[in-house]
């Protein structure tokens, strides 16, 4: 699903000095895996996820998504790739204000160039346990509910890959647990999930963990609890 090799990302500060965020990152993530990327603050997790999500392009190195080298795609092609292949879940939910849950879920469908299937949006909301909240404005929902709406939105175009940057960062532990449970369920259905966190507890839900330190892969290991199952899935 994901193949990155020798990925480098160097930002340039306002005064021109280069900031190396990713120095040399290589790994492969198979279809159906549930991987967490963990590391200290400033280690480069978000920078990596932005590239994996086709929001950003690497300074050098290659990134193959679904066998296609997307590292040099134009802005427009990256938009289309994001729209069809990737679902995003953000730390602060990023739901549109003054808009209902169902309307938020429909947003990715607006950009497909096809019809917007309201029925599908409602079905997904039901799947994340919010079938009765579809017509609620997002500000009327709790944080955990909002994040589940955001996950439903990420699923609208049925993308194979879900990317989440600290999805539980703004939630209390109970709400965080329910969100993680939802992501685990989605993983069981065969969705590939890459999740950025610095929380070990969150990382425990995944089957594999990639540790990042100073823009480099410090460790890449299976999670104890899930050892074997991930490998089995990769085989399939």
């Amino acid at each position: 699903m994901i193949e990155v090799s020798h990925l480098v990302k160097t930002y340039t500060r306002g005064d021109g000095t280069p900031v190396p965020a990713l120095k040399d990152i290589s790994f492969t993530i198979g279809r159906g895996e549930f991987v967490t990327i963990r590391g200290a603050s400033g280690s480069g997790k978000s920078s990596l996820l932005n590239i994996l999500g086709c929001l950003d392009t690497p300074t050098s190195g290659s990134y193959r998504l679904d066998g296609e080298d997307v590292s040099h795609y134009s802005d427009e092609r990256r938009s289309h790739t994001r729209n069809r292949k990737i679902g995003f879940v953000f730390q602060s939910f990023n739901l549109l204000p003054r808009t209902t849950a169902a309307e938020n879920v429909e947003i990715p469908a607006l950009y497909t160039g096809g019809a917007v299937d309201r029925g599908r949006a409602l079905a997904i909301l039901g799947q994340v346990g919010l079938g009765d909240r579809a017509e609620h404005y997002v500000t009327e929902l709790s944080g955990g509910e909002q994040q589940r709406v955001a996950i439903a939105r990420a699923l609208m175009n049925d993308p194979p890959l879900l990317l989440a940057d600290e999805p539980t960062g703004n939630l209390d532990s109970a709400a965080g647990e329910s969100v993680m449970q939802l992501l685990t369920d989605l993983h069981r259905e065969g969705r590939t999930i890459v999740l950025v966190t610095h929380d070990e507890g969150v990382a425990a839900y995944a089957e594999r963990e990639i540790m990042i330190r100073d823009g480099l892969v410090a460790a890449d290991r299976p999670q104890p609890g899930h050892a074997g199952s991930g490998a089995a899935r990769r085989q399939a």
């Binding site: 134009s74 938009s79 289309h80 994001r82 950009y111």
Partner: protein, 413 residues
């Protein structure tokens, strides 16, 4: 890869944009007001100027450009011994006949004798200018009736005691009553009111014609004033030729008849309205020019208001833009969304401004006592310019929105 545009997507975005406009009602109202006031201001000021111009043109139409007025005047040398206020008697019947005979282009004419006399009707009384004129006077002046009828040549032959009242005099003396057929005393001589003339406002020569009383020329000369000279002579020329040449011809004729030596000045004044009209028209045109620029700058200011609000909207919605981009919106999609929202509001505003401008034009025309003019061409022009300006001004923030780096936009909070 060429930028490809999905109309289906844009239709969805347009529908979403309309919802968005409703949800951000306050901001939407501000944009609409901005655009509306710009258009309304432009339309109103241009119409106001057009009204002023139309009024000048109307005055010119009333006293056509082809009318020459000859006023009796004391030559300066004579004036020296005439300070006691002796009436100027230089324009005589013979002069009038000679002018009508010799000046080929004369189509209509009227001699005029004028004096300020006391009027009395019932218990009302006032002093007003009374003019003795010939029937053609009203046609030369294009002065219609409001009530009753004109007097005719027979009335002049009989020196009939009939009078036509200006609109103001009629109101002052008779109030709400109809004066037609009523009795009027002019210097204690009884007259019958034959009619009331239509309201005129101020004439191009700044006299208030609504305060005048008009009686047959012979009646005024024989029964009221007992004189055999005229105050002035009005000549309407048939074809619009060279007014300056005709004026010179008339002056020469009168100098010869009055036996004025080479070195003495005229004892009359030949005037035509051309000069007066030229200056008034020039002033009206200057005002129109100025007002067009004011209207245009009003449109620009309104456009800047639209720009500012759209700019703030883009800033407030940066996270939304980042989110939409992450979910698959292309840069053109974002541009379209923001430009569409701003244009819908600007268009509603401009349309509203057209209506407002119509109402405001009515009100200003009424208050300034100008004719109400709504120039559709100018209004459409203002509307079109407003839309183009707003398109430009709304495109700028929309372009900024489209160019936002999705990552930066997502980090924004």
């Amino acid at each position: 890869m060429a930028v490809e545009v999905s109309w289906v997507t844009w239709r969805h975005l347009a529908a979403g944009g309309l919802r968005q406009i409703w949800r951000f009602r306050l901001r939407s109202t501000l944009v609409i007001l901005c655009a509306a006031l710009g258009v309304a201001g432009a339309v109103t000021s241009v119409n106001y100027a057009s009204g002023g111009r139309a009024q000048v043109l109307e005055k010119i139409r009333r006293l056509g450009t082809n009318v020459i007025v000859i006023n009796a005047e004391q030559s300066r040398a004579v004036a020296g011994r005439a300070r006691t206020g002796r009436i100027v008697t230089t324009l005589q019947e013979g002069d009038y006949q000679a002018l009508r005979r010799e000046v080929a282009a004369v189509l209509r004419s009227s001699a005029v004798i004028a004096a300020s006399l006391r009027l009395k009707a019932g218990f009302s009384s006032k002093v007003s200018p009374v003019l003795g004129v010939e029937p053609d006077f009203f046609r030369i002046k294009s002065w219609p009736l409001e009530a009753g009828g004109y007097f005719h040549d027979e009335d002049l032959k009989r020196s009939a005691r009939v009078a036509l009242l200006g609109h103001g005099v009629a109101r002052d003396l008779y109030g709400g009553e109809s004066p037609v057929g009523q009795r009027l005393f002019i210097n204690r001589v009884p007259f019958e009111v034959a009619g009331v003339l239509a309201e005129r406002g101020q004439g191009i020569d700044a006299t208030n014609e609504d305060q005048q009383v008009l009686v047959p020329l012979t009646t005024a000369m024989r029964r009221l004033l007992n004189v055999d000279h005229y105050s002035s002579i009005l000549l309407e020329l048939g074809e619009v030729g060279d007014m300056a040449r005709d004026s010179a011809e008339i002056a020469e004729l009168l100098r010869v008849r009055h036996r004025i030596p080479e070195f003495r000045p005229d004892d009359f004044k030949v005037g035509n309205q051309a000069e007066l009209i030229r200056t008034q028209l020039a002033a009206a045109n200057r005002l129109g020019f100025l007002v067009r620029w004011i209207g245009l700058s009003g449109l620009v200011v309104a456009g800047l208001g639209v720009l500012a609000i759209a700019w703030i909207a883009v800033r407030d919605r940066t996270t939304e833009i980042g989110t939409r981009r992450a979910l698959g919106a292309t840069a053109p999609d974002v541009f379209f969304q923001f430009a569409f929202e701003a244009m819908v509001l600007a268009t509603i505003g401009a349309g509203l401004g057209l209506g407002l401008g119509w109402i405001a034009s009515r009100i200003t025309a009424h208050q300034a006592a100008l004719p109400f003019i709504f120039e559709t061409g100018n209004a459409v022009l203002a509307l079109g310019m407003a839309l183009v300006l707003n398109l430009v001004f709304a495109s700028w923030p929309a372009l900024r929105a489209a160019r936002l780096d999705p990552i930066h936009a997502l980090k924004h909070e």
